[in-house]
């Protein structure tokens, strides 16, 4: 038996409905989002720290919130099953972490290339070798060019909102792309936090496959010689041009998502103290650590601003250029060894020697606010030991 919930306007559910405070983990926030998302089907496969959220989605299925749910045999199979289900014209959900993300890798560009509005949560963790189940978001750098939209949650509240809102952004006809919603594993998934939730008897309107910019794969459109997924690998110029324009259209669709992200997420980024000369720019839980670092340096008489980047794809290029126009120092703390966020920021702003790619922690290390504060203070004193 399906649970009876009231379908309400997306605008109302996402932005206006009165919310009540709950004290829940990030994994529970994922389930709360899916409970209200009118999802048809989910497929699960265990990996730490994602597993708990997909257990909870399984419980939702057992309670009648979803119409189908199963455990797949590995992440590649899960993402392929999710692709098939999405092709069939319904709303889907799955989640994974670190090594699971990499095992499933071949499917992410397929989702984007096939224009499926899949929403997938990534509870980021370390990637072997050496093995680590600890929070680390290097996997995000590997997904930057898959064609997916990518949102990075700072808190359980973000995780809830970004997942629920991702469906409505993903399913816009002019967008119709998959969305990855990322949170740093454990730090968000396994800690309790205050999360404001709209009523649980409300849910989003169902997905309407007819609004897709591509035919639904259900044999309900005239069956002419159309391959649903573009098969454009013949060796001739027309094929190359068609293939190239298909890719360009995916990039353009991600660009067209900007206004919807502005509307539903309140912008691709958020800024504290936009007139500052010194900024910390971060995404995910590094933002929370940076908020604490700001307090530490303020005690030493240094004022700095904070740029929280919520949308990694599309990337808030113009916004960053504008905000950092008069900035002298931009410190980018990250939970990964590669420093991908700093690279992204450097690639869009002028005079990018202003960008300090660090501090970076990985392998299970925490990111103490003192470390971020120290980085800023040393730069201000002209310290050279951290210069790259």
């Amino acid at each position: 038996m399906m649970i009876q919930q009231q379908v309400v306007d997306a605008e109302y559910l996402l932005l206006q409905a009165e919310r009540k405070m709950a004290f829940i983990t990030g994994s529970e926030a994922v389930a709360e989002a899916i409970k209200r998302a009118n999802v048809d089907m989910a497929i699960a496969y265990p990996i730490t720290p994602q597993s708990e959220s997909m257990h909870l989605i399984g419980d939702l299925y057992a309670q009648g919130y979803l119409k189908d749910y199963y455990r797949g045999e590995n992440e590649f199979a899960v993402m392929a099953g999710i692709h098939g289900a999405s092709l069939g014209g319904g709303r889907v959900f799955t989640a994974t972490s670190g090594p699971g993300t990499l095992r499933a890798m071949e499917m992410f560009p397929v989702w984007a290339g096939s224009r499926q509005p899949v929403v997938c949560a990534f509870m980021c963790r370390g990637i072997s070798l050496p093995p680590s189940i600890q929070p680390e978001n290097i996997e995000m750098s590997m997904l930057l060019d898959t064609g997916m939209l990518m949102f990075h949650a700072e808190t359980a509240q973000d995780f809830f909102d970004m997942i629920l809102k991702a469906y409505i952004i993903a399913e816009q006809t002019e967008v119709h792309l998959p969305v990855g919603v990322f949170a740093d594993g454990f730090l968000v998934t396994h800690t309790r936090d205050q999360v404001k939730l709209p009523p649980e008897n409300f849910k989003l309107p169902a997905y309407t496959p007819e609004s897709a910019p591509v035919p639904v794969f259900d044999m309900e459109t005239p069956p002419m010689r159309i391959t649903r997924d573009p098969l454009l690998n013949k060796s001739n110029y027309i094929s190359y041009a068609a293939n190239a324009s298909w890719h360009q259209e995916i990039l353009a669709a991600a660009d067209r998502a900007r206004k919807h992200i502005d509307h539903y997420l309140g912008g691709l980024l958020e800024v504290v103290d936009p007139d500052a000369k010194i900024f910390i720019a971060a995404s995910g839980t590094a933002v929370s650590q940076s908020r604490e670092a700001l307090k530490l340096i303020e005690k030493k008489g240094v004022k700095a601003g904070l740029i929280k980047i919520k949308s990694i794809r599309p990337f808030p290029k113009d916004e960053l250029v504008k905000i950092t126009e008069h900035a002298e120092l931009i410190v980018v703390p990250e939970f990964n060894a590669g420093g991908w966020l700093a690279r992204e920021i450097k690639s869009v702003i002028d005079n990018n020697s202003r960008v300090i790619a660090g501090p970076r922690v990985f392998g299970g290390m925490t990111l103490p606010p003192e470390l971020i504060a120290k980085e800023i203070m040393q730069r201000l004193r002209g310290g050279s030991e951290y210069v790259e």
Binding site: K67, E106, F217, M219, P223
Partner: protein, 281 residues
């Protein structure tokens, strides 16, 4: 789908391509056609870019003609030789990543069941030996273990054709192929035997030299997948280009194989047998 979806309105009919009109007026949609009728109706695949004498192309043609309800059939494939012909069939065809077909088909079948609970949508996997037995073997087997209601059809050319004639798990022992410079060191993978212990309610092994048997087994497999459980048909579709025989010898090669090591075989569970006796005339 309903007949009305494909029937053109009179005012626009003459603007449509001849190919389309031919399919609507003389095709297999809503009018039962079978392999025995080949040559007398417009087929959903009548053009393909495969090599001369391609066994896979013939296999696809026979499978397409045997579909009991092409108007409600969705084919899932994988990259390889098979997708060239399949992408030109006049029904929904999807091919995405290598070897993922049975997982895609699982998700698709379940979602179509959610969206069309009262109707039959046949989800049929048509893939070569590499896709099913090598790179996609775990996904193939798990779809059977789970009891997914899909039909899996292998067009077995015993080689990786599209990539240039490399050894596959379904190649014969001793065969010298690319990546098997001293000949293949182990026998053909026993996928047919694995089907029966992995949850398939029906499994059949045929060759393109016996078109009537291909038609019958494909039809049974699709009927059984609707109600009873997963089904598997393995069709030998020899490859003249990579197995190095003249293209006009494809049927002879298949006939020889049928006598030698590719004998016709059909297995089914008692439940499947009952179902066929009661439902398939």
């Amino acid at each position: 789908m309903s007949n009305r979806i494909i029937t053109p309105v009179a005012e626009f009919e003459d603007l449509l391509p001849d190919d389309y009109k031919d399919l609507i007026n003389n095709g297999p949609f809503f009018e039962k056609k079978s392999i025995e009728d080949l040559g007398s109706f417009k087929e959903i695949i009548d053009d393909h870019p495969h090599c001369a004498g391609c066994g896979v192309a013939l296999g696809i043609r026979l499978v397409a003609a045997a579909l009991p309800s092409p108007e409600d059939t969705l084919i899932v494939g994988t990259p390889g030789c098979s997708f060239f012909g399949l992408s030109q069939t006049a029904l929904n065809y999807s091919t995405t990543a290598f070897g993922n077909q049975n997982a895609v088909a699982s998700g698709l079948k379940r979602m179509l069941k959610i969206r069309y609970p009262e109707r039959t949508k046949d989800v049929v996997v048509v893939v070569g030996d590499g896709g099913i037995a090598d790179i996609g073997l775990d996904l193939t087997l798990h779809s059977w273990f789970r009891g997914e209601k899909i039909s899996t059809i292998m067009v077995d050319n015993e080689v990786y054709g599209n990539t240039g004639g490399q050894e596959s798990g379904m190649s014969r022992q001793g065969k010298v192929l690319n990546m098997a410079p001293n000949g293949k060191l182990f026998p053909k993978l026993p996928i047919f035997d694995m089907a029966k212990i992995s949850g398939c309610v029906y499994a059949a092994r045929v060759t393109v030299a016996s078109p009537a048997k291909v038609g019958m087994t494909v039809r049974k497999a699709i009927f059984l997948a609707r109600e009873v459980g997963p089904t598997y048909v393995q069709i030998y579709t020899p490859c003249p280009t990579n197995l190095k025989f003249p293209p006009n010898q494809t049927l002879n090669i298949a006939k020889e194989a049928e006598k030698d090591y590719y004998s016709y075989e059909e297995l089914m569970t008692p439940e499947a047998k009952d179902y066929l006796e009661n439902n398939l005339k």
